[in-house]
Amino acid sequence: MEIIYLLIPIAIILVSVALWAFFWSVRQGQFDDLESPAHRILFEDDEQLIPDDARPAKDDKQDHKS
């Protein structure tokens, strides 16, 4: 049980590091827009990154939304 004398202080230090990082990210404006990042991950703008041999066949590309 004596180990908690070491572990709890470490936990408190980690928490303060996390809070510092959080404050930093707020200051950087990372929390200004809480809406678009949720959608952004779904955008397929990485087409040029897909190697040719891994591309799906042309005819199963029927996902157009109208």
Binding site: I8, V15, L19, D32, D33, S36, F43, E47, D63, H64
Partner: protein, 817 residues
Amino acid sequence: MSVQRTQALAPCFHCGLPVPPGTDYTTIIGGEQKSMCCPGCQAVAQTIVDGGLDGFYRHRDASATTMDSRISSEAHLADELALYDSEAIQAEFVRHTGDEQAEAMLVIEGITCAACVWLLEHHLSQQPGVSQFSVNMTNHRARLVWDPSQTKLSKLFGEVLRIGYKAHPFHPNREEQLLEQENKRAIRRLGVAGVGMMQVMMMAIALYAGALQDMEARFVEFIRWSSLILATPVVLYSARPFFLTAFRDLKTRQLSMDVPVSIAIGGAYLASVWATIMNTGEVYFDSVTMFTFFLLIGRYIEMQARHRTGKAGNALLDLLPASATLLEEGREKMVPATELKPGDVVLVRPGHTLPADGIILEGSSAVDESALTGEYLPISKNIDDPVVGGTINVEHPLKIRITDVGPNTRLSAIVGLLDRAHAEKPVTARIADRVARYFVLAVLITSATVAGSWYFISPEDAFWITLSVLVVTCPCALGLATPTALTAATGTLRQQGLLITRGHVLEGLASATHIIFDKTGTLTEGNLSIQQMQPARELNSINPYSIAAALEQASEHPIARAFHPYFQIPSVNTRVKVNAGVEGEVEGVRYRIGKPSYAAELYQGVTPDQPDHERQWLLLSDDQGPLAWFALDDQIRKDAAFTLNVLKRLGLKVGMLTGDDSSAAARVADELGIETVKQGVSPDQKLAYINELQSNGASVIMVGDGINDIPVLAGARTSIAMGSATDLAKTSADAVLISSELERLALALMVARKTRMVIRENLSWALLYNLVALPLAAMGFIAPYMAAVGMSASSLIVVGNAMRLSRLPRIRRKLRE
């Protein structure tokens, strides 16, 4: 464009409006031919596809805004945008960051979904010289970093326009900077409370488990000290707003809900600190942090909704143009509208907005004053007539001598009225604050009595028993009763398309006795459409709709716009006569459309009688005689009648206030069964009417959309703006009906009433719990751990009860009955 005919009546692939039958604007997107409604949309879609950004159409979940056809006349626009290259104008919003880079803050108009953000960022980043372009979807602001030596700013503005959006320079005012700071501070407080709560909770579990397994006292003491360290920032930093408002309220001798909340947080924290230092009693750090965190979540959501409506930046931005064409010794010169002085002469082209108040020197035209009066039909103006800044010139170029600028204009006067209305708005005490007043007094008196009595019975127990009384009566459940219910209801209504921006709305809706609507744009669609066509004689080969549309195509007059969807064949030699009609040739035959007398001149015969006198009729004629009648009217919204019926059934008195003094107002009222109608009233008369109602004890909901409604929106106890309203109207209203579907109003009213019921249940439960627990604690029967369990259980019951508000089916069913 293309040979293949696309299917008629499919919605425009770009903006979602119906494609007028017979038109043929198409773009090939993703290998398929898609039809567009107008050349504007087509140009935008083509730019998007050419830039390789057609992924936009796959990602978006809302239609883009319609592009006006002005985009096709790029040469003209380039002129206007060139203004943004001038040093004087750039000085206001551009910052030079050294090494050939400049940074500008912009506001983008027309963003509807996340795909718009994606499209804008990708398109602009592809432009030469642009090193960074990021768009914030929440407040529609963009940050542009570019190299001015490579690209002109006006070109980048043009690129934004080319893909269907509009960019304006962003000048943050003092108020907005404060909002941003408030937002960041709130996020930091929430984060600290969340992290602190989780850590303290872990320690608490160790303590609870330790109590059961007989943990050694030295470990218990160590864990308590650790909890103290973790809980301190939560109380001192995150919970500060509660302490500050409580302190302010106490100074003004008021008791709001923040007072018992602060007593609970502060009291439990101090008691736990005391217990930790003295190594006796119990600690309540877990309850303190959890309570703070839950309350902060509620406040944060409320604040976000409040900020959302004020996002577009400068409130008058929409109404006044950025530039004006100044006439100096016969030469035209583009200047920023803010540099105009009284006495200047400006030229206003058709379709442009007047930059300031003035008098017409030359020309006659129709002016669209809908922004000020709500009236959608333009008013004809001649030499020496006064005109108002912010209104739109519709037909012919006008030369205007400026008489008033800045704060002296009519538009500013209306904004001034808004401030006054805000100041006079009746203050409504929240039900929780009323309860809090008695509650705090009761707790303080009881604690004092308990402390006094125990001091005589056994002085050494007095402190701990008094403390347990305070902890047991900790108003957690009471404090959570209202905010949780409001948060749940606000979230539900937001999903249903009603954005609540101020805290008192739900109570205002629930207790409303009157609901007053504006007419144009609220009960009606706010634009003219063709209701009926009546042939005057045997028809020849061409459909009268096509002839009328061909003649009206060139004009931007609201009457002409009603015909635009039917455009098929072009007309030549088209001439517009102000306040009369249009003349032109279609496939070799001369036609006239307009006022009956004007159309009759063409065949030099008798003017026929119009079919009825209730609506506005236009006559189409050729040189043989009259051809067809068209009835034009502003359409009543489809769900208006149903909504008004439900509202009446709910016991509300329905009324209508309108600036329109024609017979149209009476007809709308008649058709919808509205009894109280005030027509032909000015903005301050509207406000006076509402104030009179409210001083007689009525609780009024005002629903409106135009600039002319702003004072009355601000003055009504509860006000709701339509989603299509101007930004200024939205910011002065308490809630925004995003979807513009009136039916949601009835739903909101029912949700609000249910919310009021849930709040009452919650408050009664919290009071009941306290009434039972208090005497037991006062007599010293309650062990501290029992107090903690009881406290958590009662809070959970309150939260669970509030969550019922997020389930809608039952309310929906009731609405349909």
